[in-house]
């Protein structure tokens, strides 16, 4: 039998040894039988000759080391029996630990999936993004680099194995599948894009890497599909290669289907498609407004990030000389290289998740401390049993092992329950997570998480049961045996340990509760920010515009105006407006960048003003109730034939007005040009409505949608991507949706994909991470409070039980009831106050972790801390009151007679 099976299958090895000895008997008996003994006598003689078979077996087993495993088995069996006998204790331990482990596991699952899941590319840690940066080192990751710059990087760098570039398509791309036109996520990429990522298509060869996209050559009108697009729109047609599919009304030949799980940007189950970048004359020059491409590169083996950055910086210093405009030269003087993986998850989100993970860790620690306390009580209660075992010859190690086995069984059960809790929690939050974190998290287990779970279980055991076991095993045997009963010595040091544990629990709970309190105040503050527009009774439809259907037609007059007209005539609709994005929306964001202009004192260092930008119809004011600071809003007289006008907000005016003392001076200024030689004039200043961010008013400029014509600048960008339809109505959304949907379908079949919501929801969604963080912290803080209250209660109840006799004696000698009450309350008070003070220090120290989440409240907010401290004092006092009352009710006669 191989060694391993002897070690891992002691049962089998044991029977093997039995069989061997049995065969010895048989052989010996047969021998004796041959020499003339009767069979039974022969057998007996053989057994006698052999001697003590049981002892031989024992010695042999010890040689093989099976005893260890056998006694472990025994330990676990014994532990189970013990725990069955004390169900209350077991349930308390399992429930407490399950909360701690569950919270930690759930948070870890989220963090692991969001921050640590490797990207679906070859060696993703070698992939970097490159952005041009200003002379001050301020990178602009959104702008992208001009084609000529990129070309030079590609050809002259010394540190990159491959360098690709891409433009993520905006909204409004439709692919025609077997079930109609569906919006897809389109990215225009360089031919070597997939090669740079190191992923080959599962079908076909992808784009021809030999051909640079200038001219398109073989790659013109070819398309690569993601697995999701292929499966959902073409039913996974295996013969799709070479066939034409219709993208925005144009035929593209399929040259590849990417493997399942491959995605670039966005979410994994999106329908993504890729075509090659189409270059034109605009890409042949270096102007400020040159089309910007994002760069992604694969570092050569062994090249460090810093080396690649230095390499490109040197190159860029040469490149930037080709720019005519000195401002642009400054703006693009440098280069920043960073890991692609780091660019995906925003720093804020990363911090938020890690802070929440830390909070879950604290909760787990509180649970462990609580369980340690339970184990300590139990060890004291079992003092006699343990002493008896010691007296009967169990070594100290053996006793510790026995107690740890019990701990292990309990933590095992707790982690089982905890992972179920975690799974439940994630499934519950799954629907919230994407809207708050804009990420996809699923309740699936993987190796890392299982490993974390096993680690948590073992650590919980070590924390909570190993230490009490050591203490218990170290107890001298003799006094425990001599003194009898419940009253026997709890020693002072143990009591001190237990008190410190309770103090630690209270302190940690206060820290969690303080964070929770700060977030609740933040949410309260956010909800009470005056938005500057109405949100009630507004229904919103998010539309994606199939611009290709309206090529060579005027969308303003042929799509939007008739649609708006019909919607306004729906019964119960008071007003309706179209705007590129509703206030606080997260669908289609446009930014107006005014470079090298502006009058205000707050001109930024690179002389450009960035402002949010919207195209709206005049009815927006009736729907949202914007108030004007100066001038007027758009009205029905603003038409394609009249002077193009714009409206800005106060924040914009403060940046742009020539005279800072008088915001009206912004009126009449020419902002941008609507058409050639037709500037847009500012006619009004809006009050500072929170149209883009609740936390602060941001600069905002709006133009009138009805003034746009196909020859307007940015006509396609503004009208041909996405549009929000907002309408003010008293009718419930559910009742008006079908009518609205049929109106939309009449306008264009692609509007079947429109989504409906209301303004209150849009505002709630824009609160962002704080809501989820606050909800989680409510749960964590509440659980922590519960745990520390039960911990305190447990300790005091135990103390009262211990001191019953003493208290009885005191009362018998004339002490008043209130003095007994006070005796216990005083002890509780010391613990609670010590815990609260340490907790306040901890909360102040950890304030910087939550600072990023807060709005309208400082991280060291005195009121929050006071309220939280009060909550703990009151609940701690309640927890202390019941044991104290019990102490006051001690009947001296009974207390003294017992024993």
């Amino acid at each position: 039998m191989p060694l391993w099976s002897r070690i891992f299958r002691p049962e089998r090895a044991k029977s093997d040894l039995d069989a061997e000895i049995e065969s010895h008997f048989a052989l010996a008996a047969a021998d004796k039988h041959d020499r003339g003994l009767a069979p039974e006598a022969a057998r007996r003689a053989a057994e006698r000759e052999f001697g003590n078979a049981a002892l031989v077996k024992d010695v042999v087993r010890r040689i093989w080391g099976w005893v260890w495993l056998e006694s472990l088995q025994q330990d676990i069996k014994y532990a189970l029996r013990q725990l069955r006998r004390s169900r209350g204790f077991s349930a308390a331990v399992i429930a407490t630990l399950a909360f701690g482990i569950g919270a930690a596991t759930a948070m870890f699952t989220v963090v692991d999936q969001v921050l640590f899941t490797p990207l679906p590319y070859a060696q993703p840690d070698r992939l970097v993004t490159i952005a041009e940066a200003s002379i001050h080192g301020k990178p602009d990751f959104d702008r992208g680099a001009a084609y000529l710059d990129l070309r030079q990087w590609q050809q002259q760098n010394k540190t990159f194995a491959q360098l690709a570039y891409y433009i993520t398509g905006s909204r409004g791309n439709f692919l025609e599948g077997s079930g109609g036109s569906v919006e897809v996520h389109l990215t225009n990429v360089s031919p070597n894009f997939f090669g740079t990522l190191g992923v080959r298509p599962r079908l076909g060869h992808g784009f021809d890497e030999e051909v640079e996209p200038f001219p398109d050559g073989k790659n013109a009108n070819t398309i690569v599909l993601s697995d999701a697009a292929w499966q959902q729109m073409y039913g996974g047609d295996a013969t799709i290669l070479g066939k034409d599919v219709m993208l925005n009304g144009q035929a593209y030949a399929v040259v590849g289907v990417m493997p399942k799980g491959f995605a670039f940007g966005g979410e994994r189950d999106w329908r993504q498609v890729w075509t090659t970048v189409h270059l034109d004359e605009e890409d042949q020059g270096r102007k400020n407004r040159s089309r910007g491409y994002r760069a992604i590169g694969r570092l050569k083996d062994g090249v460090a990030l810093a080396a690649a950055q230095a390499d490109l910086k040197t190159l860029q210093a040469q490149i930037v000389k080709s720019y005519q405009d000195p401002d642009v030269r400054e703006e693009r003087a440098s280069v920043i290289v960073r890991r692609y993986a780091d660019s995906i998850v925003e720093t804020d989100l990363r911090r938020a998740l890690i802070a929440l993970l830390a909070a879950a860790g604290v909760l787990w620690l509180i649970a462990c401390v609580n369980v340690t306390n339970l184990f300590l009580v139990r060890a004291t209660a079992r003092q006699r049993e343990i002493a008896v075992r010691g007296a009967l010859g169990a070594s100290r190690g053996r006793i510790i092992r026995q107690l740890v086995a019990e701990g292990l069984v309990l933590s095992g059960a707790a982690s089982l329950l905890g992972s179920l809790l975690a799974l439940g929690a994630i499934t519950l939050f799954e629907k919230q997570i994407p809207s708050h974190l804009r990420l996809e998290v699923s309740a699936s287990a993987n190796g890392t998480i299982l490993l974390a779970l096993v680690g948590l279980t073992l650590l919980s055991t070590v924390f909570s049961s190993l230490w009490p076991s050591f203490l218990a095993a170290r107890m001298p045997i003799e006094p425990a045996l001599r003194q009898g009963g419940q009253q026997s010595g709890t020693n002072r040091s143990q009591h001190r340990i237990r008190s410190s544990l309770v103090i630690a629990e209270i302190a940690m709970s206060l820290t969690l509760l303080a964070a929770c309190g700060l977030l609740l105040r933040t949410i309260y503050a956010l909800r009470h920010v005056p938005l500057g527009f109405r949100t009630d009774h507004i229904m919103v439809a998010n539309l994606t515009i199939p611009a290709y259907r309206f090529a060579h037609r005027n969308m303003t007059t042929e799509l939007y105006q008739p649609l708006l007209e019909r919607v306004q005539h729906l019964p119960g609709v008071q007003a309706a407006t179209l705007m590129t994005e509703v206030p606080l929306g997260q669908t289609f964001h446009m930014v107006l960048s005014l470079a090298g202009e502006g009058y205000g004192a707050h001109r930024t260092e690179d002389n450009s003003i960035k402002s949010n930008f919207r195209a709206v119809t005049p009815e927006a004011q009736q729907v949202f109730g914007f108030t004007m600071l100066r001038g007027r809003y758009f009205n029905q007289q603003d038409t394609a034939g009249s002077q193009p006008v714009a409206v800005v907000n106060g924040a914009f005016a403060r940046l742009y007005a020539p005279n800072q003392q008088n915001l009206s001076s912004v009126l009449g200024i020419h902002l941008l040009s609507m058409r050639k030689n037709q500037p847009v004039e500012v006619v009004g200043v809006l009050d500072d409505a929170r149209q883009n961010s609740i936390t602060q008013p941001e600069p905002e400029a709006e133009i009138c949608l009805s003034q746009m014509t196909p020859d307007s600048n940015s006509y396609l960008a503004v009208e041909g991507r996405a549009m929000d339809l907002a309408l003010r109505t008293q009718r419930p959304i559910a009742s008006i949706t079908p009518e609205l949907r049929s109106l939309l379908l009449q306008a264009s079949p692609e509007f079947a994909n429109a989504t409906f919501t209301n303004m209150d929801q849009v505002v709630a969604d824009s609160y962002g991470n704080q809501t989820l963080a606050a909800h989680l912290l409510e749960v964590f803080g509440g659980t922590a409070l519960l745990l520390c209250v039960t911990g305190l209660y447990g300790l005091l109840a135990y103390v009262v039980a211990q001191r019953t006799r003493e208290i009885g004696l005191r009362i018998a000698l004339g002490a008043q009831r209130w003095q007994a009450l006070w005796l216990i309350l005083r002890q509780a008070g010391v613990l609670i106050i010590a815990g609260v003070i340490i907790g306040i220090v901890l909360a102040l120290a950890s304030g910087r972790f939550v600072r990023g989440f807060l709005y309208g409240v400082a991280e060291h907010d005195v009121w929050t801390l006071m309220i939280v401290a009060l909550v703990l004092l009151v609940s701690g006092g309640l927890a202390a009151y019941f044991p104290a009352r019990k102490a006051a009710k001690v009947n001296p006669i009974e207390a003294l007679r017992a024993e």
């Binding site: 060694l3 065969s23 010895h24 001697g51 040689i63």
Partner: protein
């Protein structure tokens, strides 16, 4: 687990350390089962050495763990199942070592017991 030595393990009827050598020597002639080994030792010693089973089996298992012998279930000539032990290459080396140690020891003890009178 405590590391105390089991007194039983050390109580060997033979001279300390010789049992292993004798077992290995017996196995030189071919694979043998436990009962066979004890019988062979008795017969070859002229019925002088009686190996206690209480020492034999622990010794066998200890040597198997050391890798000096390997075991395999087989059948005796009388068609009975028995576990046979066979000496390994490592065991043969050990036997040679034990043997030379033993011979040195015997010579040394002999020298002490029968001192030569040369001076």
């Amino acid at each position: 687990m405590t590391r105390e030595r089991e007194p039983y393990l050390n109580r060997v009827e033979l001279l300390q350390g010789t049992l292993d050598m004798l077992i290995l020597q017996t196995l030189q002639w071919g694979a043998q089962h436990g009962y066979g080994i004890s019988q062979a030792l008795r017969a070859q010693s002229g019925e002088v050495l009686q190996v206690e089973t209480g020492s034999l089996y622990p010794a066998l298992h200890r040597m198997e763990r050391q890798g000096w012998i390997v075991s395999k279930w087989g059948q005796t000539e009388q068609k009975q199942r028995a576990k046979y032990y066979r000496i390994t290459v490592e065991g043969k080396k050990q036997l040679a070592r034990d043997r030379s140690k033993w011979e040195t020891m015997v010579a040394a003890i002999g020298n002490i017991l029968t001192p030569t009178t040369e001076s």
